[in-house]
């Protein structure tokens, strides 16, 4: 049985009242949703809270899932909308305490430090936060989740041509920010070094 059939079966079982079937979906996708939330929100606690809320939303709306679609695409749609809502609810457009804490030595290291312990990786994560949220979303879906344009369009509710435009601008912005931060200088027009 392939992955999509597995997942459709688990969804059907959950809808029939078997919560353990939904537990399998949670086990499979907690990491993916956490990565999406952390890349978007740049705050470990927010990302953990978001993961819980996203799965509760998915559970509540499970009847609206179309089994002909991939479950992961449907779940990432909920996750993306949730993260953007959360970002918009953050009223301060200026630096938050969490942003400041990123630059300070801390005894409570975030997952970026715990899991990666690599300064350059953290630089990219910081650079991502400089992108407007709609650009950040498509960049994450493309380069971190490795999704096709059609899937990104489905998740974000945008057209494929808009996705391509946002990716083009997102790439330029990210390359410029990384170059300003002392990284390799890339020709952002052609995206070559």
């Amino acid at each position: 049985m392939d992955q999509q059939a597995d997942e459709s079966g688990w969804v059907a079982q959950t809808l029939a009242g078997d919560q353990s079937a939904f537990a399998r979906l949670i086990e499979r996708y907690t990491g993916l949703v956490y990565n999406q939330a952390y890349r978007m929100l740049h705050n470990a606690q927010d990302a953990e809270d978001a993961v819980q809320e996203i799965f509760v939303k998915a559970y509540t709306r499970l009847a609206s899932f179309d089994p002909s679609r991939r479950f992961v695409t449907w779940l990432l749609t909920i996750a993306s909308n949730h993260c953007i809502d959360r970002l918009r609810r953050r009223r301060q457009p200026w630096m938050t305490l969490d942003d400041v804490a990123f630059w300070l030595p801390s005894s409570h290291a975030g997952p970026e430090h715990l899991a990666l312990e690599h300064e350059q990786q953290a630089l990219v994560q910081q650079a991502l936060q400089q992108l407007p949220e709609t650009y950040r979303l498509v960049m994450i879906l493309r380069y971190w989740h490795d999704l096709a344009y059609a899937e990104i369009a489905e998740i974000s509710g945008l057209t494929e041509s808009t996705i391509k435009t946002r990716l083009h601008r997102g790439r330029k912005m990210l390359a410029e920010i990384l170059a300003q931060s002392g990284g390799a200088v890339w020709d952002v027009e052609t995206m070559t070094k």
Partner: protein
């Protein structure tokens, strides 16, 4: 999760830029998966409602409908009060009180007191205070516009700003 390139019609430039972006990210060690906290899955599971999804969805729907009804009811009450106030202040002063048993009843007397208290205030505002109302409305509108643009519509970070 595999990228399904077969359904994409990417131009040569897009394809080159796409590959170059991946090379650039690779130089920085990305995409690197983050490991979620070990207990996160258990916490998510513990956070799930006990009832099946259909029951939860029905409950959410009922609560939402209830809030909509309450909102409509409050709105209707406000409109009714406003209408009664306008009727009392600009029309018949004892009109609203006549709806609740006339001025002989406590409720009617209360209504009449409210109308009589509001009447001079409204007349002052509408005669000499019109400018105050206009300026006040203008300030409120400007403040709301500023609030919307500064706090709601500004991107969280300016793309032009560096690290």
């Amino acid at each position: 999760m595999g990228r399904r390139d077969y359904d994409e019609v990417a131009s040569a430039e897009e394809s080159t830029a796409d590959k170059a972006m991946r090379r650039l990210l690779a130089e920085y060690g990305h995409p690197a998966p983050l490991v979620p906290p070990a207990d996160l899955t258990a916490r998510v599971l513990a956070h799930l409602p006990d009832q099946p999804p259909s029951v939860v969805a029905a409950t959410v729907h009922t609560v939402r409908r209830r809030w909509q009804w309450m909102g409509s009811l409050v709105g209707l009450m406000l409109v009714s009060l406003l209408s009664l106030g306008i009727w009392g202040v600009f029309g018949n002063s004892s009109g609203p009180s006549s709806l609740v048993g006339g001025i002989a009843s406590n409720a009617g007397e209360f209504m009449l007191v409210l109308v009589l208290a509001a009447k001079p205030l409204m007349h002052v505002l509408l005669s000499s205070g019109m400018l105050v109302i206009v300026v006040g409305m203008l300030i409120i509108t400007m403040a709301a516009w500023l609030w919307w643009h500064m706090l709601q519509r500004v991107p969280l970070a300016s793309p032009a700003s560096g690290l």
